[in-house]
Amino acid sequence: MGGEVLVGRGLTLESPVGVASGTFGYGFEAERMGNLAGLGAVFTKGTTVASRPGNAPPRIAEVPGGMLNSIGLQNPGVEVVATEYAPRWRGWAPKVIVNVAGSTIDDYVRVCQRLDPVPEVAGVELNISCPNIAHGLDLGVDPHAAAACTRAVREVTGKAVIVKLTPNVTDITEIGRAVQDGGADAVSAVNTYLGLKWSRVRGTPVLPGSGLAGLSGPAIKPLALAAVARLVAALKIPVIGIGGIASADDAREFLELGARAIQIGTANFYLPGIAASCAAELQQGSGTAHRAERR
């Protein structure tokens, strides 16, 4: 279960274990800390055309079994990524897949166009869960917009195109089928769930503004498994499973369910070596699915 996997358009990962966007920066922290070994892929922080400062703090809040974040896509912009970061990825064993975000289809096209000639970038992952798209609809919740975005990106890049789906929709398989038809090589699922934490001390939400933010971590695993199971049943292209994975056993659940690969997110924060150790554990063998027989 731990060996090489093909996630589309010639993109082969040495291990099905990757790390999720926004939970691993651009990989340099893990490089310094010695935590890159054995990973199949690093999905970078969401990258936009221009640099973004991100949202005002506080940006994160913990809830039982998970965390809420509203980071606001803080990133240095695609130019810095292409010229300063990419050369530092040269020679890395894990593939680097740049997570791409934007407000319009044109934003996605421009970022992917800029990355297309960069040899160190193995693929792009389109994070189509961003608000403020044309017609006031989120890209990721409208099958037509999602397909159109995928198609437009498909035309400007020869790299593998993975589309990352939001779970905050009535039917995730409808969006999945749309981006499959739009030419996606694979989908990844899920992004965070809309959540809120209330502060009784302050009488307001803990996070600023409306307080709405993205829930991630072990608490979402049953939800993510359901979304991935439905996508696996509905799609022909590979599905990369994400959501609450914090151990090799969690990873195996997604893989047994039919996911081609997986990404570890929030767990990287509290167990910085977890992705590398999961990759190693999966490489070693199938582990023990068995409990002691009852009685």
Partner: protein, 282 residues
């Protein structure tokens, strides 16, 4: 990752080790001194650096704490902590023998002087945490070190006896006058700034801002460093949760408390930005 040009912590020194609690002392209401056997951290941790601690069962994310005491010889480190929510409650309940995951050292600590001089350590409440270690290092370098500690009441002052011997002076201030002088820490500060080369401060943000303003007014030539706090998801620069408003060449930039901080020169902090920002305390 960050847009600032400020220096960042050296992550290659951080280790994730399973430490063992060897002592847990109550030092006041909700105040605890936790001593852990953690040989790797004890070898590396510099004053003002912090560790991310995790107890199982306990909250999902680790919690950041400044190294308070560090004994490389014994292979132990200590943390001075105040019970706030679930994470600190679990830590306070540890008993000798219990395991604690410790990731560290993380962050940038206090700058240690190249030439001898006079340092003033200013601690508000549990902000005393990093100073035993800092005081020890300063004294070892021949520095003249004075201590100013403010708290709500006597039982919340850091025990003087737990500071290294050799301080050139100390002043304690309590809101209610139950020990030392009555009043605010900043009221006492003015008279201690005279002749000081370095001011190191740790405590709540309004106190830090007041210290920074007073020091820059009364003792502009002194180096002023403050240790800031922010909610931390990781402690090593990947979650971007610990954003704090910094100044880089005079313009406001978002910095990361865990990598450019927690210790910053007072003039690197965008104090107005910090003041406007809603509290991260829940």
């Amino acid at each position: 990752m960050s847009a600032t040009l400020l220096p960042e912590s050296d992550l290659s020194r951080a280790r994730d080790e399973v430490a063992t609690c060897i002592r847990a002392d109550g030092l006041g209401p909700g105040l605890h001194l936790l001593t852990l056997e953690a040989p790797e951290a004890a070898r590396e941790a510099l004053p003002g650096e912090f560790a991310q601690l995790q107890v199982v069962p306990g909250p999902l994310l680790r919690r950041p704490f400044s190294f308070s005491g560090v004994d490389p010889g014994r292979g132990t480190v200590s943390f001075y902590l105040r019970v706030y929510g679930e994470g600190t409650r679990r830590l306070a309940q540890l008993s000798p023998g219990s395991p604690v995951r410790l990731l560290g050292p993380l962050g940038r600590g206090f700058s240690l002087p190249q030439v001898k001089g006079s340092s003033l350590l200013v601690a508000g409440g549990v902000g005393a945490a990093p100073f035993p270690h800092l005081a020890g290092q300063l004294l070892a370098r021949g520095e003249r070190v004075r201590w100013l500690n403010g708290a709500a009441s006597a039982d919340q002052l850091f025990p003087l006896g737990l500071l290294p011997a050799g301080l050139a002076g100390s002043l304690q201030v309590t809101d209610d006058g139950s020990s030392g002088r009555q009043g605010l820490l900043t009221d006492a500060l003015a008279e201690l700034l005279d002749g000081v080369d370095r001011v190191y401060a740790c405590g709540p943000n309004p106190m830090l801002q007041a210290v920074a303003e007073m020091a820059s007014r009364l003792r502009p030539e002194a180096l002023v460093e403050v240790s800031l706090e922010a909610p931390m998801g990781c402690g090593f620069g990947t979650c971007l949760g610990c954003s704090i408003p910094l100044l880089s060449q005079g313009t406001a930039v978002p910095g990361l408390c865990c990598r450019q901080g927690p210790v910053l020169a007072a003039d690197q902090v965008d104090w107005e930005g910090l003041r406007r920002q809603p509290s991260h305390l829940e």
